[in-house]
């Protein structure tokens, strides 16, 4: 322990004598650590964004759909599958035993929703039944969801997603108002709370109407999705198994036939998450690797200079009793400290960016709009990124910096340790 402390002190003396050089040398490490932290920070943010986003879908809900959401194998074949219609939903619901909820949903984009002179293009119209709201937490922010009777009758009532609400009723006075969906009047009876995140905001950009009314409005040509809530993640597999069987019987499939429908769950998104993570990792690792390579070459170079400049010092130390290992340690610590200085600067840099992320982004947008590259009112929601660097990232950065310091310093330190004392003393 004392050996280590005693080896650190001369390193500081040496570095203090050349502060500017020390800082410049660490530039590569600064950038490397900067990338490591940035990458960790963004990945962390993405992870929490994903978890938040897909929590909306519920981890115990299956989606029986015409398509397998994970895409993949012959999409054309999937296109030719029969659609899921309301009758099939009815049969499915009747036969399904193990599920907590079985709810049909159908959606349509590119609609025109307007209230007086405000209108919204391309938001989503969502047809469903009264059970929908119970399946998803049962809460409306304002007003209420439509009742079974209203759903059955196909009443002209609508429940608005938060974004539709904000856009058409900036005053927050939506309840009781009549708006027009593709020309047809609907009375607003409720508003849903904000459910989406940056990654999936379509869930807030929708208007929900009784599914019967949806068919009245748009016809019943498109396929619907049967939402099956298992009522607990542990039951998901059983329910999935049953659902496949039930759906096959609804479709009257023979034992040898392939399923002509998709059973989807939240986990499907994990593929998407993995790809995104992979891309961030790939870019991050490449940049980091490059920066550390440059960084360690820089440190190694300066360590060679340091050893050369202090050849005589090394001779003196040996003459008064320093072993090779003590000299090795001294220079190794110098190099590790250099690298850690770089890490500290990188950490400060990244923390600053994390803390001021919103200001920085709006600054960049302002700058871009000045030169006409962005709309002045562009906003980017960065709430998925935390405003501090997670501690684990800091630990990783420190460990990486120490490793870089050792790798960069080991050869110069060995050279110093193995110097012949007589020749070293004769230097200069």
């Amino acid at each position: 322990m004392t050996r280590i402390v005693e080896s650190i002190r001369p390193a500081f003396v040496a570095l203090a004598a050349n502060k500017m050089r020390a800082v410049l040398t660490t530039l590569g490490v600064v950038i490397g650590i900067f990338f490591v932290l940035l990458m960790g920070w963004v990945l962390n943010g993405l992870d929490s964004a994903f978890t938040q986003s897909f929590a909306f879908f519920g981890d115990d809900i299956l989606y029986i759909d015409k398509f397998n959401w994970s895409g993949g194998e012959d999409w054309y074949a999937q296109r030719n599958r029969p659609k899921i219609d309301f009758r099939q939903y009815g049969m499915f619901k009747e036969r399904m035993r193990g599920a907590e909820f079985v709810v049909p949903t159908i959606d349509r984009f590119s609609t025109n929703v307007r209230h007086e002179n405000l209108q919204l293009q391309g938001s989503m119209i969502f047809g469903t039944t009264a059970e929908y709201i119970d399946m998803y937490s049962g809460i409306t922010a304002e007003g209420r969801f439509f009742t079974e009777t209203e759903a059955e009758l196909g009443a002209n009532v609508v429940v608005l997603g938060q974004k539709v609400n904000e856009n058409l009723f900036p005053q927050g006075d939506a309840l009781g108002k009549t708006l027009k969906i593709d020309g047809q009047p609907f009375t607003v009876i409720g508003v849903l709370p904000k459910r989406g995140t940056m990654l999936i905001d379509f869930v807030d950009n929708m208007s929900l109407i009784p599914i019967k009314r949806f068919f009245g409005l748009y016809g019943s040509r498109s396929s619907l999705t049967i939402n099956v809530k298992a009522g607990g993640k542990e039951r998901l597999d059983d329910v999935k198994y049953e659902a496949i069987g039930v759906m096959r019987s609804v479709r009257s499939l023979k034992p040898g036939d392939d399923d002509n429908f998709g059973i989807n769950s939240q986990e499907m998104f994990s593929q998407f998450i993995d790809i995104t993570r992979g891309v961030v990792w790939g870019i991050g690792l490449f940049m980091t690797g490059l920066a550390f390579l440059v960084g360690s070459i820089g440190i190694m170079n300066i360590m060679f200079v340091s050893v050369a400049e202090r050849t005589r010092e090394i001779g003196v130390r040996k003459a008064v009793g320093a072993t090779q290992s003590r000299i090795l340690l001294q220079f190794l610590f110098e190099s590790i400290i250099l690298s850690l200085i770089g890490a500290a600067i990188g950490l400060i840099l990244t923390s600053t960016i994390a803390a001021f992320k919103d200001q920085i982004v709006s600054g960049v947008i302002a700058l871009l709009s000045l030169v006409g590259l962005a709309e002045g009112d562009t906003t980017v929601n960065l709430s998925f990124l935390s405003s501090t660097i997670p501690l684990t990232q800091v630990v990783v950065a420190v460990v990486v910096a120490v490793i870089v310091g050792i790798l960069a310093g080991i050869i110069p330190a060995f050279r110093a340790a193995r110097l012949n004392p007589v020749e070293a003393l004769r230097a200069e």
């Binding site: 005693e6 040496a14 003196v316 008064v320 009793g321 090779q324 012949n420 007589v422 003393l425």
Partner: protein
């Protein structure tokens, strides 16, 4: 040759240093330079020896070998009865640290640290605690008359003061042997004499002193003078009329 060889008075006592047919050569391309050709000598505890000889005769080379900074190309060197050539780096470092104190012509102090820290340096490598180190370094610096210069860096000190710091550094681990390679070479006569006074006091206290010098005046302080020429010992004699320095520096070492 044999009549000029010095025979110790107490031959029953084992010598501290014993060199037998030591050679040290350097290969410069296809040329071989003999820094030392064939040197045999023994030095006992509490001797005061001066190495003399023309430039390039091998004095420093011999000194470095004796001080375990360098190793002979051939021949045998026993330090306190142990073969130096069979020692590893750790053992050599320990001898340099505890048994030998080196004083150089160019002082060789580390420029960025204080006099006190320079003197502490050997103790760092003997694993002495910080507090004890400070105490001992302070003690030794005081004994060489530098109590008021301890926090100064080497470039804030005169040559004589620097050499006294270097001597303090050599003494701080209480080694029995002091090796000084032209310790007065960079000093004026008066300051040089003060330094020789320090060596005199150390010798009186029982240390073994070996000094390399060009100057007869300096060599005159020694009790035994060994003259080298072309890597060989030319003469090895007792000094009948030792010069005892007037400025006998008081040295209150524990």
């Amino acid at each position: 040759m044999s009549e000029s060889r010095y025979q110790p008075e107490v031959s029953s006592v084992n010598p501290v240093l014993q060199l037998e047919n030591v050679a040290r050569l350097y290969s410069m391309g296809d040329e071989t330079i003999y820094a030392l050709r064939d040197v045999s000598l023994s030095i006992h505890q509490n001797e005061y020896v001066a190495f003399m000889g023309p430039s390039g005769s091998g004095k420093s080379t011999l000194m470095n070998i004796i001080g375990c900074l360098d190793t002979p190309t051939s021949g045998s060197y026993l330090f306190e009865g142990e073969q130096v050539s069979s020692m590893n780096d750790g053992e050599l470092a320990e001898i340099r640290n505890r048994k030998i104190g080196f004083v150089f012509q160019t002082f060789n102090l580390l420029p960025r640290i204080t006099a006190l820290q320079n003197v502490e340096l050997p103790l760092v490598y003997s694993g002495i605690s910080r507090g004890e180190r400070y105490k001992r370094a302070e003690e030794v610096l005081t004994s060489v008359g530098l109590a008021d210069r301890m926090e100064h860096r080497p470039n804030e000190l005169s040559g004589g003061q620097r050499q006294r710091v270097a001597i303090a550094r050599a003494l701080v681990t209480r080694p029995s042997i002091i090796l000084a390679d032209e310790p007065t070479g960079n000093l004026d006569t008066k300051t040089g004499n003060e330094i020789m006074g320090l060596f005199e006091a150390l010798w009186k206290k029982g240390n073994t002193i070996i000094v390399v010098t060009h100057e007869e005046d300096i060599a005159a302080h020694a009790a035994r003078i060994i003259r080298l020429r072309d890597g060989n010992i030319e003469q090895d004699v007792l000094n009948p009329n030792r010069h005892i320095p007037e400025t006998l520096t008081k040295l209150d070492l524990p």
